[in-house]
């Protein structure tokens, strides 16, 4: 069997170095075509009419005026009379028309009568949720009552983070065309190999009936796996139009209202400890909502999983609001916030540096050595010991600085993935996978692995992804892509190289075991003088192209990939105590990624994760109106996201020490986005001397906390 394992750490030419993404120029110049940029000849546009009510029965739907409008080609009612609507924004009808403007005007011309019903759209106050809150039942470990009695110090507090949306820059949607017995689909998806099957199932067609194409996707964050109602109805409208392509893309307001949310999390948390900072007891009473289905169950206590005595209660609140979808590291940001803020408060009560408290309690985490190392590395990069002051001891001026930290974990094992590597007699190399590049650099990573394996420069390898005619590869969720595609690409390429060596060995008069591919040549191991150029070697194939497959079987990773990482993130903020405005000064992220494939895009992932942390900590929240039941900030104006000037300095360290490197490739998109939110909020508490219970740390919340402190 060929040898698949990664080249030794010191012997890698490309892997782990800093390589710019292959499609960077295309994207930065605007040449890259996202699906929402696609306009096909003869294409129709579809718009969706949504419910203005959060909870209502549809009484009647009258499409006659809309149908009569010039340019309207089809209307499909999806929530007809009798339907009970459970959130504002629920799709009522899809209209297809010759232009987007006509489609939108026509959607508004549909007359719908509703019978409004009572709704609940806010969950911050658990008592107000009444029967809409469902308790999961108490979970007890050890003897929490006794442990709290015995504790030297007990710290108790309230914490909360609101519902966020994914706010993908490219909204959800697709172009689809019903062409005879086949559907051509150009979705904006995280799931090139899987979305076709989802669509065909909904349309009761054979799974092979949908051909999916996608070059670039403008963000998904966990919300773009399925064909969705707009995919299904857009395709049906195409069929009804006699097979014209139909484009449906949600407008910004609909995108933020129904295309997925990250559940909230609120709770009262009590932590007991010995005088030296050893945590002995945990109690949490938490609740969360991700929409009508309830949802959101943060794993508590986060990372510090084996605190010996625990009592936990959690309720899921059902709201009349758009539903949850996976959101970069589902449940982890919430759990990290609830846990690490509670521990920071404990440290403040003990008058201890939280860095020491985290160090001390590393033993109740699943990877004590990793966290201790990362805490130390992050502290060095932050200059923590020099800058840290006890909570609130931040000088006399109105501007206060503070430090905060958090630690996190994620799985990140690679998904099932199949790849084909082709080596042609002219020396060209192609890799095919039914994968997708979410902007994470997947294309580039595949090219790196293949080029590394063949001893070729990066540009000698052509990567073909974004088509479900290629070998199936998993959806990009849960940081599973890099592990999946690296391993399948490695195996396919090693297999292909093996076949090439079979072909050239006789003419070089050497057994193939003595040959290797380096520096654009096939040469004798230990005797570089005896070689064939890559081109000359491939010419030996005659008329035959090598085409070899490689498979990543998640159950049998063969040492090439694994799962389970730790990470530590720290924040330094400055707070204007007269205005309550928090500014980022610096963030530090130390992350375990196993074997590093591309330093540059790995760092980019961590920058992006940190930026999402800044947004969540300081400004981002969905704001619901209990009167109208509607999202008030379904736009990019009051749904606030950070810009360049709001982010501060971000310092990233990726763990490449041998103990990390030897584990194989592990995904990092999710963990990168977990800890900083809590770290920033902890830094605010450290700066101003009081906990601001609920994120985001907006001026009104910070000022209210300061007022409580001063009272």
């Amino acid at each position: 069997m060929p040898e698949y394992s990664w080249p030794e750490q010191g012997k890698r030419r490309l892997m782990g170095t800093r390589i710019s993404r292959l499609d960077g120029g295309e994207k930065a110049s605007g040449r890259a075509k996202y699906t929402s940029d696609l306009n096909k000849p003869d294409m129709l546009f579809s718009a969706v009419l949504t419910s203005p009510h959060a909870h209502a029965k549809v009484v009647s739907v009258d499409t006659s005026a809309a149908k009569a409008m010039k340019g309207v080609t089809g209307i499909r009612v999806v929530s007809g009379p009798g339907t009970e609507i459970q959130w504002a924004g629920t799709e009522i009808a899809f209209v297809a028309a010759a232009s987007e403007e006509i489609a939108r005007d026509a959607a508004r011309a549909i007359k719908v009568q509703y019978d409004p019903m009572p709704h609940l759209v806010k969950e911050e106050n658990l008592a107000a949720a009444g029967v809409r809150a469902k308790a999961a039942g108490e979970a007890i470990t050890g003897d929490p009552d006794q442990a709290f009695k015995d504790a030297d110090v007990v710290s108790e507090g309230s914490y909360g983070i609101p519902v966020l949306t994914h706010c993908c820059l490219e909204p959800h949607g697709q172009v689809s065309q019903w062409a005879g017995d086949k559907i051509e689909m150009w979705p904006s998806t995280q799931n090139v190999s899987g979305i076709g099957g989802d669509l065909s199932k909904n349309l009761e067609l054979p799974a092979t009936g949908v051909h999916v194409h996608m070059d670039h996707v403008g963000g998904g964050f966990g919300s773009k796996f399925n064909s969705d109602r707009w995919g299904i109805e857009g395709t049906r409208l195409s069929k009804e139009s006699g097979g014209k392509p139909v484009k449906v893309f949600l407008d910004r307001a609909t995108e933020l209202t129904i295309a997925g949310v990250r559940p909230s999390a609120f709770g009262r948390i009590k932590v007991g400890a010995k005088r030296d900072g050893t945590i002995t007891a945990w109690q949490s009473e938490t609740w969360a909502s991700g929409g009508f289905g309830g949802g959101g169950s943060p794993p508590l206590p986060y990372v510090f999983t084996t605190i010996p005595n625990q009592r936990k209660n959690h309720s899921a609140v059902s709201l009349n609001a758009g539903g949850a979808r996976a959101w970069r590291a589902p449940n982890h940001q919430q759990a990290c916030y609830l846990t690490d803020c509670a521990i920071e408060d404990l440290a403040a009560k003990l008058r201890m540096d939280p860095l020491d408290v985290f160090m001390k309690n590393a033993d109740v985490t699943p990877r004590a050595d990793v966290y201790r190392l990362q805490l130390k590395q992050a502290a060095d990069l932050m200059d923590w010991k020099k800058k840290w002051h006890a909570r609130g001891d931040s000088g006399s001026g109105p501007i206060k600085k503070g430090l905060g930290l958090a630690i996190h974990t994620w799985g990140g094992g690679g998904h099932a993935s199949n790849a084909i590597t082709r080596i042609s007699p002219d020396g060209s190399v192609e890799i095919e996978l039914g994968s997708q590049d979410l902007g994470t650099g997947t294309r580039t990573a595949i090219a790196i692995v293949a080029a590394e394996t063949l001893g070729l420069p990066l540009n000698a390898v052509k990567v073909k992804i974004g088509d479900n005619a290629y070998p199936p590869s998993g959806g990009s969720g849960g940081s599973t892509t890099i592990g999946g595609v690296s391993v399948s690409t490695r195996k396919a390429t090693v297999n292909a190289l093996d076949k090439l060596l079979d072909a050239v060995a006789p003419s070089m008069g050497l057994p193939k075991e003595q040959l290797e591919a380096v520096d654009g040549k096939i040469q004798q191991k230990g005797n570089a003088a005896k070689n064939l150029t890559w081109k000359a070697a491939c010419a030996k194939l005659g008329a035959k192209t090598i085409s070899e497959t490689g498979v990543n079987d998640p159950k049998n990773p063969g040492g090439l990939m694994s799962a389970g990482v730790g990470g530590c993130q720290m924040a330094e903020v400055s707070v204007d105590t007269e205005t309550g405005i928090v500014k980022m000064v610096k963030s530090v992220a130390v992350q375990d990624v196993g074997t590093l494939v591309n330093l540059k895009t790995a760092e980019s992932q961590i920058f992006g994760g940190c930026i999402m942390g800044v947004c969540g900590a300081l400004m981002e929240e969905r704001i619901m109106d209990q009167q109208t039941g509607r999202v008030l900030n379904a736009d990019m104006e009051f749904y606030k996201l950070a810009g360049i000037g709001d982010i501060g300095e971000i310092v990233v360290k990726i763990n490449t020490e041998p103990q990390f490197d030897k584990r194989g490739v592990i995904g990092l998109g999710e963990p990168a986005s977990i800890g900083l939110l809590a770290a920033i909020c902890n830094a605010v508490a450290n700066a101003i001397g009081v906990r601001v219970p609920n994120a985001p740390m907006t001026p009104e919340r910070v000022l209210a906390a300061l007022e409580r402190r001063n009272a």
Binding site: R104, I581, M619, D625, T628, E637, D646, A704
Partner: protein, 326 residues
């Protein structure tokens, strides 16, 4: 977006001839950064758009004996970058620079900034300018953290969105409004009004009028604007203060303090003006002036924090003006 007619005049005369007597007949299209989004959201659907970007006489910024003349179609970026403005009216330059995102400064015009509609989220969601369907205020009973803390006793609870308005009022600017039957001049502090009925506007401009020019007298004031903003990027101030001080020696002989984003119109804080007259400006005086400026504040259920922010804006604007060259 409802279908509309598009007119592209090249002279003011032609343009005003294309305007109507009701707001839904015609709308002036300048940079379109506000108007187009209202149309796309079906909040406002005028039957005709009159593009003014091709009218040369509406552009440019220049100075003459009367003062600084700003064409209504001059962009916010031109205002922010103008050395004339920076030298004489730092307050105006600061307000212009504050308007977030280079794209909006490049497209948005000074006239458009003054005539833009409120950003109240109920209004933008189609619940009406006063957000009182069925006579019950959604603002009072709902989410009002960005709403008015002053001048909110009537049905209007939104805040005036213009950042340039407060600076121009403090500097004593005059606006020229032109219709097909002639032109009139309106002092900047009379241009903004608080509407009391659905369907009326927040400015004294009539549907058949075009704002053509803004004249800022060379007043020899020390002036400054301070904005309290949560974000650097693509965001609105939570409160602003523009101040203009006439000094005699180190004493304030007269002051104009105007708050932005705290009331349905730019808010002339006359209590602060009175308090400051005759005082020499210290931090303590600035703080007391700030308190005076907000003494009539009537915050809603969620926006008491804006009282504090507005105070800080006044104090910091005054201190900045004191440090600025007159």
């Amino acid at each position: 977006m409802q279908p509309f007619e598009y007119a592209n005049p090249t002279t003011v005369k032609e343009a005003v001839g294309l305007l109507g007597n009701k707001w839904d007949e015609a709308a002036v299209l300048a940079g379109g950064t506000d108007l187009i989004s209202l149309m796309k959201d079906y909040v406002y659907s005028p039957k005709r758009l009159v593009n003014i970007k091709n009218i040369k006489e509406l552009g440019g910024i220049r100075a003459d004996k009367a003062g600084l003349r700003i064409g209504a179609a001059a962009t916010i970026d031109e205002l922010a970058e103008s050395p004339l403005v920076a030298k004489n009216f730092p307050s105006l330059a600061q307000a212009a620079r504050g308007v977030t995102s280079p794209q909006i400064r490049n497209m948005g015009t000074v006239g458009g900034d003054l005539c833009q509609r409120p950003r109240c989220w109920y209004y933008r969601d189609g619940q009406g300018l006063l957000a009182s369907p069925g006579g019950r205020s959604l603002v009072t009973n709902g989410e009002n953290k960005y709403h008015a803390i002053l001048g909110n006793g009537g049905p209007a609870k939104f805040v005036s969105a213009s950042s340039l308005g407060p600076a121009l009022i403090a500097l004593g600017a005059t606006l020229t409004l032109q219709s097909s039957s002639g032109s009139r001049k309106v002092a900047a502090d009379k241009f903004f009004v608080t509407p009391s009925a659905e369907g009326s506007r927040e400015i004294a401009l009539l549907p058949n009028e075009l704002l053509t020019e803004i004249l800022v007298p060379m007043g020899g004031t020390k002036n400054a604007t301070y904005e309290v903003r949560q974000k650097e990027a693509l965001d609105w101030p939570l409160a602003t203060a523009s101040v203009a001080l006439k000094m005699s020696g180190s004493t304030v002989s007269s002051a104009r303090v105007v708050l932005g984003h705290v009331a349905p119109m730019p808010w002339a804080a006359t209590q602060a003006d009175q308090f400051l007259a005759g005082k020499s400006l210290t931090e303590a005086v600035a703080e007391d002036a700030a308190k005076a400026a907000l003494s009539n504040a009537t915050p809603l259920s969620q926006n008491a924090y804006k009282v504090q922010l507005a105070r800080v804006a006044v104090k910091r604007a005054l201190m900045a003006a004191a440090g600025a060259r007159g």
